[in-house]
Amino acid sequence: MLNNDVRYKIAERIAQELEDGQVVNLGVGIPTLVNAFIENKEVYLQAENGLLGIGPPPTIDQLDIDLINASKEPVTITKGASFFSSADSFAMIRGGHVDVAVLGILQVDTKGQIANWAVPNQPILGVGGAMDLVVGAKKVIGAATLFTKDGTSKIVKKLTYPISGIRSIDLLVTDYAVFSFESGEIHVNEILVDMPIEQLSEKLGITLKWREPVD
């Protein structure tokens, strides 16, 4: 599967997790692709730089440098949208008013703590809204290909990349499987490829269990 296809597949699966009426913040990378799969759901997209209600991508005529998302890409707005300052935007995020944040991740440990803002032995010079979203959103969904290009698993027992916050994410959607984190434990919700859970466990070097269905 081409890398781009994989990214879209992850985005499509994440879109299924979103519910009507939710306020959602889509981070940089795979998360921005989620927008294309939301379709019939009434989901309200929030941008850290001060917008609630991102619409479909703009036409050339609609391009406006004063209307961008947090990735600095041009956007449009939906009916019912509103603009506000960065302070008010992060009050919304940090104060727990955003229902779901979808964040690209570099690593996640088996308790669900993530690293997504810096790599080891490199100057740490950018964080943006990453840490505010991790700590603030009611639900955090991680998005990533399960393995790096050199085949290393992004799920690790102990983070080797700088941590983004002490809060555990709720769900991790990868190209291989959907994982959930509850009470400090990782479980498999769904396997998206033709592979038994034992084989996935082995590939990751972690003993994986199915998540008990909740009713």
Binding site: D66, G126, I163
Partner: protein
């Protein structure tokens, strides 16, 4: 009565001095006061401490001041896109204070509001919390952050009336309203200047009390760019 609207941006050049702390509005280039930044470049002042989300973009805005070696320290949230800044930092030629974007926004708001500092949940347990006081409030961990104030704030708005009331344009609002409150001198660069009474009192985002000087921008918007006229 003090006249806030200046015909010539150069009348402001003497306000800028070596070593000042300057708050600069904008996110990327959007909502950045490019005309005033050009003036600072022209002024040649050095050793500036710049508080801004990032150091410009696409070779525009604050990037110019960086290239000219006018910046001693940058306080912001996202310098990764400023590759030369990363190199300069590695060589010890640029000081950087990295803050989460929400912490930066809140610290500036507090600076303008007579709040000395605050406790935020963001960054607890991370490298950005190192050396910062931690406190548990109602069972949750928070870190202390001090308010940020500047000598000068330069901001960009859509429209000013002649008194200095401001409204912004869409996401170009970003850091500008907080920065307008948190400096001794506030200069607003705007697309349009209207008579007093032409703005809806419910819609004014920055009341005139915060604004000292108003200049017309030299940059025109063309789609997703600001272009110098």
């Amino acid at each position: 009565m003090k006249q806030k609207v200046l015909e010539n941006v150069r009348d402001l050049i003497s306000l800028f001095k070596d070593g000042q702390k300057i708050l600069v509005g904008g996110f990327g280039i959007s909502g950045t006061p490019l005309t005033i930044i050009d003036l600072i470049a022209e002024s040649g002042v050095k050793g500036l401490h710049i508080v801004s989300n990032n150091l410009g973009d696409y070779g525009m805005g604050l990037h110019q001041l960086f290239i000219r070696g006018q910046i001693e320290k940058a306080i912001g949230s996202f310098f990764t896109i400023n590759r030369e800044a990363v190199v300069a930092w590695s060589k010890g030629e640029l000081l950087i204070d990295l803050l989460p974007q929400g912490t930066l926004a809140e610290a500036i708001r507090c600076g303008g509001a007579g709040i000395g500092g605050f406790y935020t949940k963001t960054a607890v347990g991370t490298e950005l919390a190192k050396g910062k006081e931690e406190r548990v409030i109602d069972g949750e961990r928070y870190i202390f952050e001090k308010a940020i104030k500047g000598d000068i704030a330069i901001i960009r708005a859509k429209k000013a009336d002649k008194l200095g009331n401001l409204i912004y344009h869409m996401t170009a609002r970003n850091f500008n309203p907080m920065m307008a409150t948190a400096a001794n001198i506030v200069i607003a660069e705007v697309d349009e200047i209207v008579d007093v009474g032409e703005m809806d009192p419910e819609q004014i985002v920055t009341p005139h009390v915060y604004v000292d000087y108003i200049i017309q921008t030299a940059y025109k918007k063309e789609g997703d760019q600001y272009v110098k006229q």
